[in-house]
Symmetry: C2
Subunit: 626 residues, 2 copies
């Protein structure tokens, strides 16, 4: 039997978990909802204005400005950077380095982290807390059903009388998409045929010192591009990829040939990634024409060499890849084991250094890293990617070997990757904030498959996540993600091909309960059929789940909030006060979300949070009367 005391205890533990997340969020300039902070008693009227807590993204250059201008790099601070235990420390000068006194920035503390982590881990298996969360979630779902029955027509009436704005002209951001698969299969096919028609004799590769023309590439594959079809291209995920992430990954090779992947879908190759850049720019062109669609494509940094960043920045600037409708995310594949076994890396620490040191250097001395400094204006976050279902034997704790001594061929576990990514991003963000530079969000893939403990790691370290399917299986985590309003970029069509049938996808249920979900495409090349992948995603969700216009516009609004678009753009797309929570943050003339819906969401969240603050107060009262 579950007692009132049990429930009070559950509420207190949940509040503690939220306080923990809040701490990690503040440290890294991640977002935490003020409403939740208020109920946790962590907000005072004299606190800094709301805007200041927002992450810092560069506004896009003005129409008259050159987006590739390398002139305005700030001066060199002359700081030194050294990696210790997988984390980069900043020193003001050699003297400080010698006496090991780093520059005053918050540095993470692994011991505290593992204690915090174990609190959440204990919570998600604690019986009474599970029951408590399960009941609250059921309540949230029923409450939305009731809201729908009562207010559906009133919501639609609000939207009908809202001039000029409808689902088609509200802004939508594709919050999770991989650049190497951002074009659809037909587009890639057309592009390959076009290059072959227009420049068959161009040298496109070099092998063992021999220059190879495009014609020779296709000749060696025994293939005439005229005959090529989307079937022979074979990049689309079919029934064969379900629960086979390995097969899925090989779908990135057109016609199963890694030569073509290198030539068409990579930023580093003989052509300096020209073909890939041209295709990405065609996709950007379509977004700009659609006017209301934005996208946040992921580009890879592998951490195999310290040159990767400057190469990527050069690719970006040389091919003029900037688009006002795109903002970039850097994805880091969790494939240390592959590099280690090929002897490309001595330790996991080196990988982290390759990923982060160039960023610290470009932040400290932008004048010597002008291209990277410029490119980082358009990068707004980091993603961590790979097959989550791969099991790891290692259990991350404060006894785990630190990255500089992680030299085995074994891959570190998910939580280890996430901690060290977060820790370095956090230090970097604080350093950049100090200089008045933009900060980054950590937005890992999480909860697509594998262990639900991944969602615990992300609860502490991530601003927002992609997928989150496994929240379905943990009521405690699902409820915590709700209370902390952690944004989740969901891609039901991708899941449908890989991990979960469309009809079983929890998106609709999450949306109804009030979780902060958006819709994203993941990989249009592999999953979508039409020219407009994001619209296909919305259309199918709308059709299969019979979503209302208000539902669709709420998802679109979430996607803009969740994105790395700048404060200025969000004000333009969502309204002046978009950063305020509840109905006052909504401008229906821009979002087409009914105020009735916004009020319902806000009151519902406040009601849930009030249980937590009541439980905390009763503890204080108990303490006083004792």
């Amino acid at each position: 039997m579950i007692t009132v005391e049990d429930y009070e205890q559950a509420a207190k533990s949940l509040a503690k978990a939220l306080v923990i997340r809040e701490k990690y969020a503040r440290l890294a300039y991640h977002r935490f909802p003020r409403t939740t902070a208020q109920y946790l008693g962590h907000w005072r009227a004299d606190a800094a204005p709301l805007e200041e807590g927002l992450p810092d993204f560069h506004p896009p250059p003005l129409p008259q400005e050159d987006p590739y201008c390398l002139d305005d790099a700030p001066r060199n601070l002359g700081f030194l950077v050294r990696m210790q235990g997988g984390i980069l420390y900043v020193y003001d000068n050699t003297k400080m380095l010698e006496c090991q006194e780093p520059h005053s920035l918050p540095y993470p503390d692994l011991e505290t982290y593992t204690v915090d982590m174990s609190h959440i881990l204990a919570l998600i298996t604690h019986g009474p807390t599970k029951t408590y969360c399960h009941r609250r979630l059921n309540f949230l779902e029923s409450k939305f059903s009731l809201h729908e029955m009562l207010n559906e027509m009133a919501e639609f009436k609000e939207l009908k009388s809202n001039p000029h704005r409808d689902f088609y002209n509200v802004r939508k951001v594709d919050t999770h998409i991989h650049a190497a698969a951002c074009m659809n299969q037909k587009h890639l096919l057309r592009f390959i045929k076009h290059t072959y028609q227009t420049e068959p004799d161009r040298t496109v590769a070099e092998k063992w010192g021999r220059k190879i023309t495009l014609r020779q590439v296709f000749d060696s594959l025994h293939m005439d591009p005229y005959d090529l079809t989307v079937d022979s291209l074979d990049v689309h995920a079919g029934r064969q990829t379900f629960h086979r992430f390995d097969k899925f990954n090989s779908k990135y090779n057109p016609v199963g040939a890694s030569e073509l992947r290198d030539l068409y879908l990579k930023t580093e190759n003989y052509l300096g990634g020209e073909y890939f850049a041209r295709m990405v720019k065609e996709v950007a062109q379509e977004l700009e024409e659609s006017k209301y669609q934005y996208s946040e494509p992921r580009l890879s940094i592998y951490g195999c060499s310290p040159e990767e960043w400057s190469n990527l920045a050069r690719w970006f600037i040389q091919h003029k890849v900037y688009s006002p409708n795109m903002r970039w995310i850097i994805q880091v594949p969790r494939i240390y084991d592959i590099f280690r076994s090929k002897k490309l890396l001595p330790s996991f620490g080196k990988m982290l250094e390759n990923i982060f040191l160039p960023l610290f250097e470009a932040t400290i001395n932008p004048q010597d890293h002008r291209e990277l400094h410029l490119f980082l204006r358009y990068v707004t976050g980091f993603d961590s990617v790979d097959d989550e279902s791969k099991h790891s034997d290692h259990m991350f704790s404060d006894k785990s070997p630190s990255p500089d001594v992680w030299t085995s061929e074994q891959n570190p576990p998910y939580s280890y990757y996430l901690y060290y990514m977060y820790a370095n991003i956090m230090v970097l963000n604080n350093l950049r904030r100090e200089r008045g530079l933009s900060t980054f969000l950590f937005r890992p893939h999480c909860g697509e498959s594998g262990s639900i403990t991944h969602l615990v790691s992300a609860f502490l370290t991530a601003d927002n996540i992609s997928h989150g399917l496994l929240l379905k299986k943990s009521p405690v985590l699902q409820y915590l993600y709700y209370l902390a309003q952690i944004p989740i970029a969901m891609s039901p069509l991708s899941n449908n091909s890989l991990f979960l049938e469309y009809s079983k996808n929890p998106l609709r249920e999450f949306l109804h309960k009030g979780l902060h979900v958006s819709l994203s495409t993941d990989d249009p090349m592999q999953f979508h059929y039409t020219k407009e992948a994001l619209m296909e995603e919305y259309a199918i969700a709308a059709q299969v789940w019979k979503l209302s216009t208000c539902d669709l516009c709420e998802i679109a609004r979430n996607s803009v909030l969740q994105s790395g678009l700048s404060h200025q753009e969000k004000q333009k797309f969502l309204g002046q006060n978009y950063y305020k929570e509840g109905p006052e943050g909504n401008d229906i003339r821009k979002t087409n979300v009914a105020q009735i819906r916004m009020a319902f969401r806000y009151e519902t969240l406040c009601n849930e949070l009030s249980f937590l603050s009541d439980a905390m107060k009763s503890e204080e009262i108990t303490a006083l009367t004792k």
Copy 2:
């Protein structure tokens, strides 16, 4: 218990039903599969070549030809036409008319029809036959599963090695779409705004002798088109239309205003239907650009006045609505009761006369009806439309009042409408065939809702049907539709908004069993979100049901076969021998359907048919040995 004799009896009854359908099909120049005819013993080697049994559609004009040329009308035959008992009879001259000797054409015989009808009606409720069909259908489904497990990879390999052809460049026909809803909601919205911007002061209507400008129309509705959105337009079907066909019909009124429907979506109004024509042409333009998509929009003839046909033909020619990617179908709404109650019609017979007499006159004397004669080149069939779930008290039999004495305000039942439509089309087709003119197919809406007996009427009278959902509920009819390979144009997104949730739609199951299904949009304005409604339909089916490329291309091939495209076009789109059944009729280079799939379908059908012919033979043997 069911005995072997029961089964034999069932097989024989099914064979008889097929023989009946074959008879009706031949009379009307409808299609009946030769394979089925062969197994029924109705085909001899010395029969006419296969091509001659095909329906006759005009090939599209050559690029150098004028599609609106009125010159080549054949001479006047001078025949006379009179309606008797709801059917038009043709007489060679006044003398023949006086002695009541009609021109030698097959005329339908109501008594035979009702006997045939009652055979099928008895069959669908006959226990052993139901069991037999149920088992055969289960077998067909399991057999396909097995085929899929065994041959899926082989099919895909065939497609991968098929040069130049993939799902994107196989021809697809939207086999069921209403012209008044053929644009999507965003398109209609854009068009309305555009007209208001460019010609606000144009006179667009006349009311009580007063001319009304476009601005005045919107003023009287208290509406500024700039503020108009898809929400306020409110033509999209939402959750409110499920099982509410009445609400759905009102969605044809933009902003709920019938004035706007008249102005923008009608062929007859003050502007001569100019706005509607312009929108239809924009849709046609998009199809032509897509190159591989065709559509068969429905235009209405109500039968309220004999002028409707000439007005429609004039609209078509005056606004130059012809497109090589469109072929037209005439829909006749089953709303005699509404016209009768408004005293617009004296009897049901008059309605039939208004619908068919102009066609007979234009066929007999094209020179005096040049416009209609020309328009009919591009018309390939008739549809019968309305809410099937409306119940009728009347039971059609040979005792029913004939159309000329059907003067009550009661609407005739579905089967009555179908019989008289079929009968007149049949006579008309025979007359036109005699003159070497094109014939028409009867392609009614059937089995969307209401009584399953509708499917019995269509089994006799229709070349193919739209919807067919209710075949789900009658194993006997489903099996008969399979054996006779009656094409079914299915619109799962339409059903999802009106009658049946997407996941419960039987399309996938029908496809697997081998029924001749195609995909169609019905009403893009009400149901679809993206610019490419037909692709949206295919994409959602592919995603939700995980259809393979071979499945999709099989559906696309079916859609071309089912359509009113001419023999020449079908040869171009499907292959020289498209009209042959089985793998020899398939040209994979054009259809991208694997020969393995074609062979499976053909062998499976032959196997099912062989049971029927065995049963018939055993009857002969029994007869001989007795």
